[in-house]
Amino acid sequence: MSYDNLTALLSLPVMETWMFYVLSALAICLGVGVLHDRVVIRSGFILIGVFGTIAGFFLLLSAQFLAMAQIMIYAVAITLVVVIALMLTNPRLEAERTAEPDDDNMPAMAKFFASCKRNMTLWISAFSFITLYVAISGENRWPVAGLPVAKDQVKVIGEALTTTYSIPFEFSSVLLLAALMGAIMIAKNEPLHDPDEEPKKAIEDSKTQINNLALTR
């Protein structure tokens, strides 16, 4: 099957819906796994799957260049950095969590409020999702253009990056350079005293001792 046939198949509405729901089921399951897994390093590896499914969404939206960039930058580079950071720190922190003692003397209302207080972030995020959904959904809210996708997307992106968006492009390259230099500077382990200084000091001490010996004789 050639590439054009594949894109034609994917542009069918039924097929796109099915692919969307399969990919979204994968993304939601893996996302819950990332947030919910007790072993942090396993959640770091599940993150690869989340980023891969989001690259699949980009392919569904016919953004091939962004899908490849997503796989290269997110699913490989950033996950690699995260996993290395997990290996260098203590990943068994979540096991040390002690459950809060449940007070049996509390009335039911107070128990309910205590659980609300403990799960405050859950309520806030659920509320924010419902608000976003109510704001997003609704008919004719977005000016959807029924145009087909441009064939030469990479050409359009490259021309825009080098002409219209050239200044942000250069600034982002400077930002990357500065951020990587800063990361190296921050992460570099600087010892408190220079290790090269000690042998020099020993040599000088021995020299002064020899001088002193010569002087005493």
């Binding site: 969307f20 950033i78 922190l93 959904s137």
Partner: protein
């Protein structure tokens, strides 16, 4: 067994706890009363808003029912992660099945964004907080690319913005993980509750 344990505990040991509990209860009841009063007052200020949401989004109330069913299963003693996942997934399918293509992608990215927000607030490991931030940035990218596909398919401004978001996310991950490593070297922990150096 429970009655024995209760009888063992001396009444004096409970005294400071009960006063603290009383204060907490007073605060909680006042917040609840304020929420109820605020709801009705807002209804009187904007008479049609709340009813409009209720009438147009009956599927939202169905999802609330699903969440309650999941909560009942969880309290009975089911597997917590599976129940959470199935509840979120079924709610998502119910909410987006009747919508257009763009709204589906937007609601998926809203869901991923709020999941990242939950992880950022709830997790104690600093690296997991960074992972959640990456999840949120990915949701934003999905949003931008959906807009560039359905609203602006000729000039592709959304994809260009997504490229810049990708760049900034890479820089953010490098600097954030370096900071976490340095903090671990100095304090020998990655617990977010102990990073209170800049608190006051």
């Amino acid at each position: 067994m429970i009655t024995q344990q209760q009888s063992v505990v001396a009444p004096n040991a409970l005294k400071p706890k009960t006063t603290k509990l009383g204060i907490n209860l007073a605060i909680a009841y006042s917040v609840f009363a304020a929420a109820v009063v605020g709801t009705f007052a807002g209804k009187s200020f904007a008479p049609n808003g709340f009813e409009l949401v209720v009438a147009n989004h009956y599927d939202l109330w169905f999802c609330v029912g699903l969440a309650l069913v999941g909560w009942v299963f969880r309290s009975v003693g089911g597997h917590k992660g599976a129940i959470i996942t199935m509840t979120i997934l079924s709610c998502f399918i119910i909410l987006t099945l009747n919508q257009g293509q763009l709204v589906r992608y937007l609601s998926l990215s809203a869901l991923l964004f709020s999941m990242g927000m939950y992880g950022m607030g709830q997790s104690r490991n600093a690296v997991r907080v960074l992972i959640s931030i990456e999840l949120m940035l990915n949701a934003v990218n999905l949003n931008l690319i959906a807009f560039s596909r359905y609203v602006d398919p000729i000039q592709l401004k959304g994809q260009l913005f997504a490229i810049f978001v990708l760049t900034v996310a890479a820089a953010e991950a490098a600097v954030g993980l370096a900071i976490v490593l340095q903090l671990y070297r100095n304090t020998s922990t990655v617990d977010m509750n102990r990073f209170n150096l800049l608190k006051w």
